[in-house]
Every structure is written in C-alpha cells, then in structure tokens.
Amino acid sequence: MKITINNNSYNIPAEWHDAPLLAVLRDYLGFTGTKFGCGKGICGACTVHINGAATRSCILPVLTVQDASITTIEGLSKDEKLHPIQQAWIDESVPQCGYCQAGQMMTAAAFLSENPDPSTDEITQVMSGNLCRCGTYPRIRRGVTRAAEIARLNSSL
C-alpha cells in the first residue's frame, strides 16, 4: 500500500494497515507535526488536508486514503515560503503551548482557500470545532483575518 503525503509517496507495510492515518503519520513515518488530542475526532488537533479538505486523521483509517493527496503541517508552506496562515500566526503571536496549533492552522488554511474573505462570525463558527486549552481563541480569530489579508496582498503582487 502507498499513500501520498506532501507530494511524496510512501510505502506502508502490512502491520500498519489497520491504523488510523494519524498513527501512520506520527508513529510510522515521523510526521509528528500533526498531533493526537482526543482520538475521537472531537478536538481537531489531528487535522490534515485530504484533497484540500480539513479532515480529522485520528479516526480516519489509513486504508481509505490510498488514492488521496494528503497534506500535513510540514507540507503547508511551499518553496520555503511561509503559508499566509503561518506568517499570520507569527505576526499575532498566536501559540502558547502550541500543541493544538497545527490543527488550528490546517483548519484555517482549508477554510481560507474556500472563503478568502471571511467575516469574523464565519471565522468564529468554523474555528469552533478546534479546541485550545491555553485560550488562544481571540488571537486565532485575528490570525485568520490577518492571513486573509496577507493572501490578498500576495495575490495582488
């Protein structure tokens, strides 16, 4: 079995075929930027992109994504240039412990690619599925707004 992560193809041996995607990413391939939070798809810490859509990898059997294009936080930036979400997260100093932030950023990045100019209400709504215990929520809202501005600026250059 093969899966495609960040545009690279990886062989997955038989003993990992019964695993959720998250375990394969973290414990077999070493893509540890994606985090385990709850194991039930509730908290969003394990969010990755499956064909561009934000998806919870902790409850997703690896067998179901053989033909998919998977993007993890390690593959969010292209050509060494920070993704607008990553730049905005730095500009707004969003993370505290940082553990949930990969999931937050992957959710936000997928959302912005669908909706490049969201309202604060829309941001609040879509980001309410990702838990953060440290309490970075207001900064996450500002971060998403700022990332949208950065993306618009980049595309107008």
Partner: protein
C-alpha cells in the same frame, strides 16, 4: 572542581542539549538537589555560554509549558549580553546539562529566576569583558558594552566573535560575583529588549510543526507500550490472560512490575489489541466503597459532624460584631472537581541501555514541570541511582499544575528495562482524564453582615476542600496522618479576602477524598475567590452600593485600589450591566475584572471581559497578555461548563464530548490593561484566573437577576 580558581572555563566538545552528555565537565558531579528550592549561585554559571560560532547557548532553567518563559528569560539573557534576541539558542531542561532547578509551578519563574538568569548572563559578559581588556591591552573599566562586544573611548572594539575566534571551546561565565551590575535591571527607558513585546522563542518551529513535544520523540527501533488500568477508582486486579496477549501479532512482551501490568509491541495498534486480549479482570467495588468514592463535599453536612481543623485568620470577634449588624447574609458556594485537560495527553520515551562493562543507564524524554522529579521517580521504580537516569525535558503541550510528574515516562522506563528496546508510552485522552489528579471540590459557607453605613461588620468564611500540595499524589499513604495535620497552603490559597475586615474568621478542612486531588491552575485561588468575590457582590447589592465603590471602601491597599480605579474608568458608568470581581494573587499580583454576559437561547454567554492587571515590572508584555487571555478563558470554562464527574466510581467525563472546554465561540475579544511599573516583577500565569469565574457569575446575576452559587452555571437552570 574549584571554580573560584579559574578565571573562566574553557571546554571543548560541549554537546548540545537533547543529546546524551555523560560525564561532561562538572555537571555529572553536581549532586541532585530537592527541586523545591531555588538554584544556588554555583549552579547557574553554565546556563549561558558563548559558542564557537558566536551564538549564545542558553539552558532554560524552567519548563516551557506554553507560559512563554523561554521568551521572557531569553529577553533577559539578550539584554545582559547586549545581543539581539535571535542570537540566543534557548534549550529546554536536561538533567544531564544542569543542576536541578525548582519545579515550574506557582507562577514563580519570574519571581525566583529572573535575577539568577540575569546573573548567569552577566557573569559571561564580565568574563568576556576581562578577555577583551587583555585582547586590547586596556583596563577593564575602559571598556563600554556595545552590541555584541565592547568598545574603548578611543573607538577600539572587541566583538564576542573575535574573542572566541580560533577556538573550538565554548566560553562559560565567571564564578559568582555578587557585585555584578545587571543591565536588565536598568530603568525601563534604558532597556533594549526587556519590557518589549518580541517574537516568541521557537514560534517558527511551532508553526512549521517542528517543535518537539515528548509525544513526538522517536528513537531508532522504538516500540510502543500500553498499561492495564482499573476502570473503577482503586479497584484491584484479579486475573489476566498473559498467553492470549502474547499471541497477538506484533507483541514483544507482557511485563509485570510493582502491581502494574504492561505490554510492549511493535505498533501502537498491536499494543492496544494485546491489552484487550490480556482480558484483565478487576475487582468490582462494593456499594460502600462506591459511596465513599462518590461522596460529595458539603460544608453544612461537614459542620454537623466535624470541626474545621485549620484557622488561618482570627481577628476581632465575629460573634460580637454580628450582634451589631443591621443585615446579615449566610451564603453557600460550591465548585466541583475540575480537570486540567491539557491538549497533549502525557507521553514518555525511555531507553534502557547496558554497556560492555555491565553498567546500566536509562535515558528518558519527558514533558514535565519537574524533570528532576521524573528522574528520581524513575530511578526508584528501576531500582538504580538517580545519576544513572538522564531526563531530557521537552516543550509541554499544556501543564496547568497537572504535569508535576509525567507518569508515562516512568512506565516507559520499566517497560524499556524489561525489554531492552526504547519504549514510548502515549496516554489516550481517556487515560489523561482518569489516571491523573484533579483540582478538588470546594464547599464554602460565608456569613457576613453590614452596618448602617454599608460597611462589613464581620466576615466568617468556612470551607471544606481537599488536599492539594499535601495530596495523595505527593505524600505516600504511611505519611497521610502527618500531612493531615498541615493546613494545606494550596487549598487555602485565595481564602484570605483582599479586604480589611475588623472582625473576621477563616476556618477550613482538607478532607482526603479517594479521587486524587492536586494542583490545578492557581490552586485554591479560583475556587476560593469565587466564594469571596460572589459574597462581596451580594453584600454590595444588599448595601445598595456600586460594586467597585463597595470594594474600594473595604481596602487600604493602594495597588489593589489602583486596579479597581482603572477598571472603573474602562466601564465608565455601565457598571450595572457588568459583573465585577477582583483579587490579590499570593499577595503580589493585583487583578480587577469586569464581565458582561448576554443570553443566547436562554444560555449565558460571556460577551465582554475587561481585566486590569498589576504584576509589577513587565518583562515580556505580549506574553503576560497571553497568560491573562488564557486565565480569563479558563474562568469561562470554570464558571459555565467544567465539571469532572465520577459515576459508579468511574471517571465518566473522560473525553471532550463529556467534559466541555470553552470553544472559539465562547470567548469574546478581551480588553487587558497592564499596570506596568518599576516595582519587582511578580507572577502572571495564574493571577487573573482568581477573579474570573466570580466576575462571570456576578455578571450572570447582573444580566438575569438570578444568583448562582454552585458551579458550573450551565449545569443549573437559568
């Protein structure tokens, strides 16, 4: 090693943190010290080192838990050395690289480690200054510090890079010199980096998914462990089927150790399957045992049968003053057991190795508020000396008091010893909720009265809670009798009202409940302030007074009054629609908070929070703001949603579907004002949680005229 005989230390081959360093320099000979004391002068000299490439290596003395201490203290190092912040390479704690440091608890890092960190960096600066004097052949005091080096009046310069050039050694600092002038303690106007908001240390690693938490540590040949745990609290193991577990494909071993049983397997799925196949039978608790676990603390019931053991405050006479009161109130407040629910469930990696001469050692990667406690606990569990255990602390994915010990690391250690392979233990979310300790339940009765002028005549505060610092997590059963005699400083934190009352009495008891209790962000500060500040609100209303004016009338503390005064300016007349609460945290940090609540589909939602905060001189303003934002968010959870529940002696709130954390939609934009002063810096990581839940509860009253005295509010009917 006699440091005082050496001008400076030269060491070749210093190995960076996170990599095995056995027997390097003086580190291995420094005896392990208890980690509740602050560091000694002779232990701090090697925290800050100049590396051959001209960069500064800085061993962070504190655990980075998300509180931003790596940023704040790196700013201090940069200021002392007069270098840009990005020249500092901040490394997390390692027992192999530094002498034990006080555990990272109680918002004490800035209070206890600010000056020591500054001294450590300043010693290096002095070392370099003496080298520069020799290099330029001038007197020491002819040199002035400039960015990255020194300069004479005549314009001759010596940079740090020049001084270390042609050497593969690192330069560490001078032996202690009590007279060193600390550049980071100059007036605010003279500071370059301290007191400024900066890009947080390691934020670029975090946003790229590259920062390593203990759960992310991978070693070659690593295998995965799982531990059998009782569903009911305190249930004993009756039987298990080892043979069946061993028959699961991918299983390496089934190991019994100190009454526990664990699995090691080549994949986490195989470990989980084998744990199921092990079919452990657990004793079922009888009705009496279940009732004991389910027992809820109730101050009124407690007072019927017992005396409160501890009386931290007895002033004037409550009984006499009560006679003169024109109004008396008897108010009962309750807050439930509460979980840390950090986003990273704890995890540990351990590697037991024995060399050709038969000497063994265990290397551990952990995420803990006290890696030296992990070292000691692992050594004890493994039956070896502490100096055979090396612990590398990683960034922690949230701690909040719940990570003083990282049990997963100890479990990984004995599994690695038994199998000889590196082992990783990754707690599930359910394990994280069920098998750690929780913040205890509090039940309080406050009796107070008012005179004709709206002044408080008397104040009697009676509480039953559970042990925090003397809890069963830290004190072995054979010492419980002694621990029970101690008035637990954690339980009573915040029980002293920040007001002057002529007649007051505070009594409390710690009841050792079966569910392990322990430190939770701010310890007793939040639950105790909930009772104190809701009672103050009810008294202000009974007196017909403005809640801020009422508080000001009862305090003579200028910093506390200043916070309340500034809060008043923010609110500007709209006080009637807002809930107010304030606190003095540990006697050193001052907080005043106002909250507005609106109803959405009949449920309270926090729509506005204002917080005025005085922690003296602010080292890293944006990091302090972030901590306050976190505390206020925790207040929302505590007031409205959070309750750790047991059902049939089983922790039933075992994942985020049943234990409700605040979500994005629950937290409004927050207005925070820092009272920045030249007074000594005090802690900020827990202070503002103290009044948060009380302010929200008082705001619910302002919005609905309904008084809630039992948390969480969403559990009771609005």
């Amino acid at each position: 090693m006699n440091l005082s005989r050496r001008k400076f230390l030269k060491r070749s081959g210093w190995v960076a943190c996170g990599v095995t360093v056995l027997g390097v320099g003086g580190c291995a000979v420094i005896p392990a010290l208890p980690t509740f004391g602050t560091s000694k002068e002779e232990e701090i000299y090697n925290w800050v080192q100049l590396m051959p490439d001209g960069r500064i290596l800085y061993y962070l003395s504190r655990a980075e838990l998300g509180q931003g201490i790596s940023t704040g203290l790196s700013q201090v190092v940069a200021e002392e050395l007069n270098v840009p912040l990005d020249l500092i390479d901040c490394h997390y704690q390692s027992t192999a690289a530094m002498a034990p440091c006080q555990m990272t608890v109680g918002s004490q890092s800035i209070e206890n480690y600010l000056e020591q960190t500054a001294r450590s960096a300043a010693y290096l600066r002095l070392t370099l200054q003496s080298l520069a004097a020799r290099h330029l052949d001038v007197q020491l005091d002819a040199l002035k510090s400039i960015e990255g080096g020194f300069e004479t009046a005549g314009g001759q310069t010596a940079t740090y890079r020049t001084l270390i050039k042609n050497s593969d050694a690192t330069i560490t600092s001078l032996p202690p010199n009590a007279n060193v002038r600390l550049l980071s303690q100059r007036k605010a106007s003279e500071l370059k980096i301290v007191g400024k908001s900066v890009e947080p240390v390691n934020i670029r690693r975090i946003v790229a998914g590259q920062e390593t938490y203990s759960r992310d540590v991978i070693l070659k040949g690593i295998q995965f462990g799982a531990i059998a745990r009782p569903p009911q609290l305190g249930a004993n193991m009756i039987s298990f089927n080892k043979k069946r577990a061993l028959s699961v494909s991918g299983v390496n071993s089934v190991i019994e150790h100190d009454g526990q049983i664990g699995i090691v397997a080549t994949t986490p799925m195989a470990a989980a399957k084998a744990l199921e196949a092990l079919s452990v039978q657990w004793q079922s608790l009888d009705a009496k045992q279940v009732a004991k676990v389910q027992h809820s603390l109730d101050i009124d019931e407690y007072l019927k049968k017992n005396k409160l053991d501890h009386s931290p405050i007895e002033e004037g006479s409550v009984q006499t003053a009560a006679i003169n009161a024109v109004q008396t109130l008897s108010l009962r407040y309750d807050s439930p057991m509460i979980a840390h629910a950090a986003m990273e469930p704890r995890s540990g990696v351990a590697h037991w190795q024995t060399n050709e001469s038969g000497k063994s050692r265990c290397e551990i990667w952990t995420g803990s508020q006290d890696p030296w406690l992990v070292q000691a606990a692992a050594a004890k569990s493994l039956g070896i000396n502490k100096n055979q255990v090396m612990v590398h602390n990683q960034r922690v994915g949230g701690a909040f008091g719940g990570r003083v010990l990282c049990q997963a690391s100890i479990e990984a250690a004995w599994l690695s010893k038994a199998t000889g392979v590196p082992v990783k233990i990754q707690w599930t979310r359910e394990e994280e909720f069920r098998y750690n300790y929780v913040g205890p339940q509090y039940s309080t009765r406050i009796d107070a009265g008012l005179d004709g002028e709206g002044r408080i005549t008397h104040w009697q505060h009676r509480t039953v809670g559970a042990p925090i610092l003397t809890s069963s997590m830290f004190v072995p059963p054979y010492l419980h009798w002694a621990a029970n005699l101690v008035a637990d400083p954690g339980t009573k934190r915040g029980m002293t009202a920040p007001y002057t009352f002529a007649n007051q009495r505070v009594d409390f008891a710690d009841e050792r409940v079966p569910m392990p209790t322990g430190p939770w962000r701010g310890l007793g500060a939040a639950p105790n302030t909930f009772a104190v500040e809701c009672a103050m609100d009810e008294l202000a209303i009974a007196a017909g007074e403005d809640p801020i004016e009422f508080r000001l009338k009862h305090t003579d503390n200028p910093r506390f009054a200043e916070c309340l005064g500034r809060l008043q300016k923010h609110i500007d007349g709209s006080v009637g629609s807002m809930g107010i609460a304030a606190a003095i945290y540990k006697g050193v940090t001052f907080v005043a908070t106002a909250v507005e609540v609106t109803l959405l589909y009949g449920k309270p939602r926090v729509s506005r929070i204002i917080c005025v905060h005085d922690c003296g001189r602010v080292i890293s303003p944006d990091q302090v703001r972030a901590q306050i934002e976190g505390n206020l968010t925790w207040g929302i959870g505590m007031a409205l949603h959070e309750e750790f529940k047991l059902d049939n002696a089983i922790a039933s709130t075992s994942n985020f579907d049943l234990y409700q954390l605040p979500r994005q939609m629950d937290v409004p934009d927050l207005t925070i004002e820092l009272v920045n002063s030249e007074l000594p810096s005090s802690g900020a990581a827990e202070a503002s949680i103290a009044p948060a839940a009380a302010a929200i509860t008082n705001a619910v009253f302002a919005a609905t005229s309904e008084r809630h005295r039992k948390l969480p509010i969403s559990e009771s009917k609005i």
